[in-house]
């Protein structure tokens, strides 16, 4: 194809876009609405997934440490245990909590009654251990149990298992939903483009009757598809950026220190916007291609 022909196709595509008036508007707004849906849904799903991660990460193993009556030996034993635990490959984080701190928590939960134990604290020093992959918690707990100087290892076995099963199911549903939505979005945009192009099948027929090759007929339509995708993704990109910015700024201070945290604005919004733009352009061009092809094939 000659360069000037390409230029011509480029010009034609813009002309055609404006001469097809509200049919173009309809296609663009179908892209807009669908991408908006995809964008917002992606934000929600990615944050829910993040929440699920947070909840999982909150699962801790409580390691009760053996009591040794000589403080020095005790200290040495504890240090050794901490070192051993830290060296386990599955371990992400180890936190030490003295029995005094433990008592404080107990009092908070069970009332002032326990204050009288401040003198003779029956509790033990504790290690809080988190696994790198929370799903390994059970395994890790077993390993730690085998180390010296551990009195007991507690992590709410049954509860954790149920939680993980639940979160995994949730994540799978989410994945299915997002794939379904993507598929739907592609279908809806393609459908719209196809109908508008079908309304112009006579044009395609005439062009071919006048001696236009398939590629000559097709190229302006591909450019048009490009515009549809491009123009259609502008509003979703703006909305996604602004809304998430707003929600983030609005919610973050309120849930400060909570377990559930929103994903940061900066990489997320760029990622989602990139997906929207790529999706818009891809479906626009691809949809045009597939739709025109049908009518080019005739005779």
């Amino acid at each position: 194809m000659k360069y000037r022909t390409l230029q011509r196709h480029f010009r034609e595509s813009l002309k055609s876009l404006s001469r097809n008036g509200w049919m173009s508007v309809a296609s663009i707004s179908a892209v807009t609405v669908t991408l908006l849906l995809v964008g917002i849904f992606a934000l929600v799903m990615m944050n829910l997934n993040h929440f699920a991660d947070n909840i999982e990460n909150d699962v801790e193993i409580r390691v009760l440490i053996d009591i040794i009556n000589e403080p020095e030996k005790m200290k040495a034993a504890e240090d050794k245990l901490i070192k051993q635990v830290k060296s386990l490959p599955e371990v992400a984080e180890v936190k030490y909590s003295s029995k005094e701190e433990e008592l404080k928590i107990l009092i908070e939960n069970y009332g002032e009654d326990f204050s009288l134990y401040e003198q003779s604290n029956p509790l033990r020093n504790v290690l809080y251990v988190k696994a790198k992959d929370p799903q390994q918690t059970a395994e890790l707990a077993k390993k730690i149990d085998k180390l010296d100087n551990t009195y007991d290892v507690i992590y709410g076995e049954e509860k954790v298992k149920n939680l993980f099963s639940f979160l995994n199911t949730g994540r799978n549903i989410g994945l299915v939903l997002i794939l379904g939505l993507l598929f739907t979005a592609i279908f809806l945009i393609y459908n719209t483009i196809r109908i508008t192009i079908t309304a112009r099948r006579d044009e395609i027929e005439i062009m071919k009757l006048v001696g236009a090759t398939s590629s000559f007929v097709r190229t302006p339509f591909l450019f048009e598809g490009l515009w549809l995708g491009l123009f259609g993704s502008i509003i979703p990109i703006f909305v996604v950026s602004i809304v998430y910015h707003y929600v983030y700024n609005h919610l973050t201070p309120r849930i400060k220190g909570e377990m559930l945290q929103l994903l940061d604005v900066t990489p997320l919004v760029f990622q989602v916007n990139f997906i929207l733009l790529a999706l818009g352009i891809f479906i626009g061009v691809w949809g045009s291609f597939m739709s025109v092809r049908k009518f080019l094939r005739v005779y």
Binding site: R4, R19, E203, M207, L209, V210, G211, T213, F216
Partner: protein, 228 residues
């Protein structure tokens, strides 16, 4: 040039529009195709520019068997023909100028040449002053003239016209006929389906009469026939 041998055309709905036609048309000839409404004239002509493919028999144009053309080759084949359609077939979203220019853009002509030549043919059919208008802003006759302008803009070797004067007053019809005579004089083959008795009887050329999908008469310098 144009060679048809025992051509049959049966439409999907069962109508046999062309029922065994054999004919030869040589380079530089001028041929009228006449016959009653529904006789098969348009089908006969559609077979020439391969809008239709024969159900059986062969249609050879410029040495090319249209039935054997690959899909990709059809556009290139058509570029050697100029076609005036009975229903004009103008692109509704393009202006008069753009409609005519389109046939030249298709063969990737230089923009400068396109401009010059398009204005020339629009002048010829008397529509230079309406080049910015869209087809639906034109009268029937004007649309027909745009279709004619487009058919001759690339100076094809063959011009095939289906009732090019159907929507024209006699005066304009004669002007169009003068254009066809001119291009025919330059060696272009002209095949023209028409109902216009006056023209056929005045400008004497070869006349092929079709009835019920068959050639019932084929006379050089014949008259329209069908007197009432």
């Amino acid at each position: 040039m144009i060679h048809m041998k025992e051509v049959y055309k049966k439409y999907p709905n069962g109508v046999v529009a062309v029922n065994g036609i054999s004919v030869d048309i040589n380079q530089g000839e001028f041929v009228y195709v006449v016959g009653p409404s529904g006789a098969g004239k348009s089908t006969f002509i559609k077979l020439m520019y391969r809008e239709e493919v024969p159900t059986s028999g062969e249609v050879i144009i410029n040495g090319i068997n249209t039935a054997q053309l690959k899909r990709k080759e059809v556009p290139l084949f058509r570029r050697h023909l100029g076609v005036v359609f009975q229903d004009f077939k103008l692109l509704p979203k393009l202006t008069v100028y753009e409609n005519v220019a389109f046939a030249m853009e298709v063969i990737e002509e230089q923009p400068k040449k396109i401009r010059k030549r398009v204005l020339e043919v629009l002048e010829l059919v008397g529509l230079k002053h309406k080049l910015r208008m869209f087809p639906n802003e034109l009268s029937g006759g004007e649309q027909q003239r745009v279709s004619i302008a487009r058919s001759i803009v690339n100076m094809p070797k063959v011009v095939i016209a289906d009732e090019p004067t159907g929507n024209l007053d006699p005066e304009t019809s004669w002007e169009i006929m003068r254009i066809f005579e001119q291009i025919n004089a330059l060696g272009t083959t002209v095949v023209m389906a028409t109902h216009n008795r006056e023209i056929v009887n005045k400008i004497r050329k070869r006349v092929i009469a079709i009835e019920g999908g068959m050639i019932v008469r084929d006379v050089d310098g014949g008259d329209y026939g069908y007197e009432i």
